[in-house]
Subunit: 330 residues, 2 copies
Amino acid sequence: MRLAILGAAGMIGRKLAERIAASGKIGGRSVTALTLVDVIAPDVAKDFAGTRDAFAADLTAPGAAEQIIAARPEIIVHLAAIVSGEAEADMAKGYRVNLDGTRALLEAIAGVDDYCPRVIYASSLAVFGAPFPAKIPDAYHLTPLTSYGTQKAMGEMLLNDYSRRGLVDGIGIRFPTICIRPGKPNKAASSFYSGILREPLNGQEAILPVDDDTRHWFASPRAAVGYIEHAADLDTAPLGAQRCMTMPGVSATVGEQIEALRAVAGDAAVALIRRIPDPAVAAIVSGWPRDFDTARANALGFVAETSFQEIIEIYLEDEMGQKAQIGAPL
Amino acid sequence: MRLAILGAAGMIGRKLAERIAASGKIGGRSVTALTLVDVIAPDVAKDFAGTRDAFAADLTAPGAAEQIIAARPEIIVHLAAIVSGEAEADMAKGYRVNLDGTRALLEAIAGVDDYCPRVIYASSLAVFGAPFPAKIPDAYHLTPLTSYGTQKAMGEMLLNDYSRRGLVDGIGIRFPTICIRPGKPNKAASSFYSGILREPLNGQEAILPVDDDTRHWFASPRAAVGYIEHAADLDTAPLGAQRCMTMPGVSATVGEQIEALRAVAGDAAVALIRRIPDPAVAAIVSGWPRDFDTARANALGFVAETSFQEIIEIYLEDEMGQKAQIGAPL
């Protein structure tokens, strides 16, 4: 079975590709060929024992989508996107990549007879914006407050319609904010959510720009890869016409994040967090969802962490090579 | 003030244009110029005292959207669309006209500096499909079961995003099923909802293909024009980022429609309805919404009829030139 990853150079794409390369499987299915695509040629999964095609492509370039599906991957994981900040700053680019790129992929698939691959589409919490209930239910309307969120919501609609018509077998998964992201801080407004944990765990100072009672919805990178693995195996028939849903996660305040850090790494780590309020960041973050009732995804067997401490422990295991010793400072 | 109607040759477009021509106003505002556009040159509002520009244009043709807004209409009523059945039968055409056409209009407006017209966008109940609650609330997610409904929902998303960015001043109104449509039956699955009333009121036999307990959401053509007039006047600031909403209407079963017909036109009219069940039509209609809580539109001052009898009386007044005499057979 061939699997294609669009956006294979990104954080989740890399982790997914490496995991498949290591196991030769996704979920319960054997993977014998990988198509790895990004705007730069992905350098991941080099140890994959099967056929590995890795190349650079812009999904919106003429013929690119057709090239990507030329070898007829049975599963396509579509993670390629312009991220929130850039899609807001460059409206045309965001619509071109996030909307037109997704449409080009679906149209290319629809143009091939007797081909209906599983398309796993990465959607986002950004399809929801304030005001919303404290706990957003599955049937809540999509209320994006960014162009990125709008484009992701429109991609969900396309995925539903092309799936309803039997042209693709789509499933859209709305990722929680992924935490703890490995690597360096970035310019995303959400960067501090990982930074206030990652930097202290690495003995460095971190800046906290918002109040301790700011609440948000999280899952680990490992959970993110797990959603995709589960989506690859899932029987989509019970989904009906609504193919997209919010993934399970952990609702936590910044204060709860910090207490989880204290439990795992002690007071010394927590002391590395400096509070420097940034009203601009606080304003952006105040429009983000806080909590979800993910009954639908739960019933379908999607899982995530059940506590923020678990999210931190996964970072230690996956990124720092340490088995966490709960309560024992590092 | 210049007002443009896209889709001016359609039923609602014609009625709106004629009403503006007669009064020289929309809502409380004086209209001195009309731009009337459709795929055929609209022949309506010929008595309009102001400047009247009527021409044929395909909104998706290069330069067409720019031509339509060349005279900078302050209000644009966007009714142009491929209807449900055709959008389902010809997927490419539906996406081209309903999605790309709407996007071309918004992009053309965005391309003009210091120009932010009111854009009144005709959306549809087709953004909702089964399963849904008996009474759909304002915050319910959009669950289209047709490509037409998908395209209308995507147009809503675009309208919200372009409005949030200050590029247009949009308001999207989801029309109930308009009843009683004047003229001949058409091939739409919903055609019988008007036919079982219109044909008997004109002394002709009508066919009823569904059960009497089939429930749906209705408003008159006069109410449809009224929504647009109200949307033209409305202060959009309180709408925030969510510019689209379901319009008020009357939830009625086929049985209630028939009893309203009896009250207005007597047993002889009702006797002209022949029950010939059509499982295909019944299956389509079973996926359509039945009732709404339109609290948001109500609070903003949108109004519709409050009984089905009123809907029938409006048909008699507006289409047959008769003031209804309640309870007195025609």
